[in-house]
């Protein structure tokens, strides 16, 4: 069939090219970020040695150990967790039609944090070795929170506003419970809880990374199937339903995905805020709402943000590692303010 060269085709090609350009650029930037991440750290290893170790030809057993047991898991976990956070934030903003929706604002991160603290302070957890028990609890409570949001928000009607209000209510609930836990915690548990809440990539290991990547990969086919349905959600519930989208079922499916992605991200690295909020907004500004571009770009930008934050957390105070949740907040807040100020004309 011959292609009619007109405004339609031009626009489509422009959008497609823009998507490719952004993905490639973000991908390259991410690669750079990962290399930087692997090259920085309290041991101040020269880049040449790091590169050698990555290729498997480390001159020194200790350099090899640092690069392979510490730096690479951290760098790659930043990528995986960033992608999970960016993706879950993107999905959430779409199905709830709200620019402020993120796993943080909907209380899912708070729920996961509470679950983790429950394991740390009271030892109430599934019977697993310690670091996995805390993670498992975090995932469990993220799922419970998602279910709670869905149920309280009115599962049958499942309107966006209802879900958001339910999410905020749960956010406050879990923050209060968390404070209560902190009050009764012994000083050592308290310290652990606080550090967990700060968020840290420093406890990354290869098995944990594999878990996050597995969940990410698991989500992909489900998202691919729903790409156009999600785009249709941008038209509002009524019109999406008019197009034949089962809005309720889509929301439910999406919630399950969000709970998995958020749960696994928070479980191993603690609560890291703002990535799930900032990445989708940046993505929207660059490639628009077509979910075929919006979702992968959100994931990629999430990875990039967290990767750069990881580098920053190691270089702001040379020799020390600042908890990454603090770094992302320091980036996120000004961005948030800029967003509010700049967008007089709504692009939402």
């Amino acid at each position: 069939m011959t292609l009619v060269t007109d405004a339609v085709t031009q626009e489509y090609q422009r959008a497609a090219h823009q998507r490719s350009r952004v993905l490639v650029a973000a991908g390259l930037a991410l690669l750079l970020g990962v290399l930087l991440d692997a090259a920085t750290g309290p041991a101040f290893l020269p880049i040449g040695q790091v590169a050698q170790a990555v290729w498997g030809e480390a001159q020194d057993a200790s350099v090899h150990a640092i690069v392979w047991a510490i730096r690479l898991p951290v760098a790659l976990t930043a990528v995986a967790v960033g992608a999970a956070l960016g993706l879950s934030g993107a999905i959430m903003q779409t199905i709830l039609n709200n620019p402020l929706a993120s796993s943080y604002t909907l209380g899912i991160s708070a729920g996961a944090g509470f679950g983790a603290s429950l394991a740390i302070v009271l030892g109430i957890a599934l019977p697993l070795p310690e670091s996995y028990a805390i993670a498992a609890n975090a995932i469990l409570f993220a799922a419970l929170t998602c279910a709670g949001v869905y149920w309280i928000g009115g599962a049958r009607a499942a309107s966006a506003e209802g879900l958001i209000l339910a999410g905020i209510a749960l956010l406050f609930l879990f923050q209060a419970l968390l404070s209560g836990l902190q009050m009764i915690a012994s000083p050592e548990s308290l310290q652990q809880v606080v550090f967990w809440l700060f968020g840290s990539l420093q406890k990354s290991t290869w098995p944990k990374l594999a878990a996050v990547v597995a969940v990410l990969l698991l989500c992909v086919p489900f998202l691919v199937r729903d790409l156009w349905n999600l785009t249709a959600m941008k038209l509002g519930d009524a019109r999406a339903a008019a197009l034949g989208v089962d809005v309720r079922a889509l929301r439910l499916r999406s919630f399950v995905l969000i709970s998995m992605l958020t749960g696994v991200a928070v479980a191993f690295v603690g609560t890291i805020g703002f990535v799930g909020l900032v990445a989708p907004h940046l993505s929207r500004m660059l490639v628009g709402e077509d979910q075929r571009g919006f979702l992968p770009t959100s994931a990629l930008l999430g990875s990039l943000l967290l990767s750069l934050a990881s580098v920053a957390s190691k270089t702001i105070k040379p020799g020390a590692v600042i908890p990454i949740g603090i770094v992302t907040a320091l980036i996120g807040v000004p961005f948030f303010m800029w967003m509010v100020v700049r967008h007089r004309r709504s692009y939402w």
Binding site: A43, I66, I70, E188, Q202
Partner: protein, 372 residues
């Protein structure tokens, strides 16, 4: 020509023999650490990283042992006992500039830094070991053996095991044995005297960390450190049953309600803590008493048995969980069982320990009653 060749041959032969003997010396020893882990270490070690219990290490390995140390956790010494650290820095040349591997309590323990220092062994305290799951695995994967020492538990077996482990690793087994025997002897002597005095006194004792001054309730201990010591000495620890963990502040009302017979405020030589109880190398009895006095003025304390009987004491916090904590035990026991310990002089014991085993001279006030 042949002459030259012969000389060379003999030289080479000597070299080979020497190499052979050296190989025999570079052996892999199996050491059992304080929590029963069997660790294989290549001895003699050339590079050591320490996390805690620095005075114990010094006593066992001597000043010379420090030449092999390449990194420490600075916070638990320089941060927690600054005056002591200063004195040791004066006599140990490489201490002041020693690289810092971080402290698990502050969340900045860095496995990366440890690995980068390429040590042959890492000595860590049990409390550090427990909180570092990932870092442990990373360090061990780099082939660095980890040896756990534990003086915090205040258990005789662990004190001895830790001391002997350090000795075996550093090649100072004789000295380690001497210290272990000394500790065991003094420890058992205290217990024997208590038994002779008729067993546990069941007097109520309250211990509090006097770091933040009398306006704040400092930590007390149960089942560990001072708490364990008190129980071992047959006293009733006021903190028992009142804490959510092994240490933490006891509610002020509960202390008054319990009406303890003796009170010990643990002081030290912290900097930037103007209201703290001052003890240590640079404290005179006057200074110590002046810093301790406000505690007896606390609301409701005037009515306490301990205050009325003049049984409020300052005691150096750094005395517990060490190889010389028997002097603290002696001092506390002396207050609990005055008759049985009449001829025991804890200060003299501490002075003697310094002379024999530590490179730093004894001075100052370490254990003192408020009312002279």
């Amino acid at each position: 020509m042949t002459h030259l060749f012969n000389r060379m041959f003999r030289f080479v032969l000597c070299g080979l023999v020497l190499l052979g003997t050296l190989q025999a010396f570079a052996a892999t020893t199996e050491v059992v650490d304080a929590i029963g882990r069997k660790v294989r270490i290549t001895t003699p070690v050339q590079r050591v990283v320490l996390n805690f219990n620095f005075e114990e290490f010094t006593a066992v390995a001597g000043k010379e042992g420090w030449t092999k140390v390449v990194g420490i956790s600075r916070a638990p010494w320089e941060g927690w006992r600054p005056v002591i650290f200063k004195r040791y820095s004066a006599v140990i040349p490489n201490l002041q500039a020693m690289p810092d591997i971080g402290n698990s309590d502050d969340g900045n323990f860095s496995a990366e830094k440890v690995i980068a220092l390429k040590p042959d062994v890492l000595f860590i305290a049990e409390w550090t070991y427990k909180s570092l799951e990932t870092a442990r695995a990373q360090i061990e994967s780099a082939g660095i053996p980890i040896l756990v020492i534990d003086y915090n538990a205040q258990q005789l077996e662990r004190h001895l095991a830790s001391t002997r482990a350090i000795g075996k690793v550093m090649g100072n087994e004789a000295r380690a044995e001497e210290l272990a025997s000394l500790y065991e002897h003094e420890y058992k002597d205290v217990l024997a005297r208590i038994a002779k005095a008729g067993g546990a006194s069941n007097k109520k004792v309250y211990v509090e960390l006097g770091q933040a001054g009398p306006d704040t309730v400092g930590n007390s201990y149960s089942g560990t450190m001072w708490g364990k010591l008190l129980t071992t000495l047959g006293a009733v620890n006021v903190a028992d049953g009142k804490l959510t963990g092994p240490w933490g502040p006891v509610n002020a009302e509960a202390v008054i309600a319990d009406n303890p017979d003796l009170i010990f405020i643990a002081g030290s030589s912290w900097i930037n803590k103007p209201k703290a109880v001052k003890t240590g190398y640079e404290a005179t009895p006057d200074i110590t008493r002046k810093s301790l006095e406000p505690y007896s003025q606390r609301a409701g304390w005037g009515s306490l048995k301990a205050v009325k009987a003049g049984e409020v004491h300052a005691i150096e916090h750094g005395l517990c969980r060490t190889l010389f904590d028997y002097v603290a035990m002696q001092y506390i026991a002396k207050q609990l069982y005055p008759e049985a310990f009449r001829d025991v002089d804890p200060e003299a014991a501490f002075r003697s320990y310094h002379t024999k085993y530590l490179p730093v001279a004894y001075s100052g006030t370490w254990m003192l009653r408020l009312k002279p």
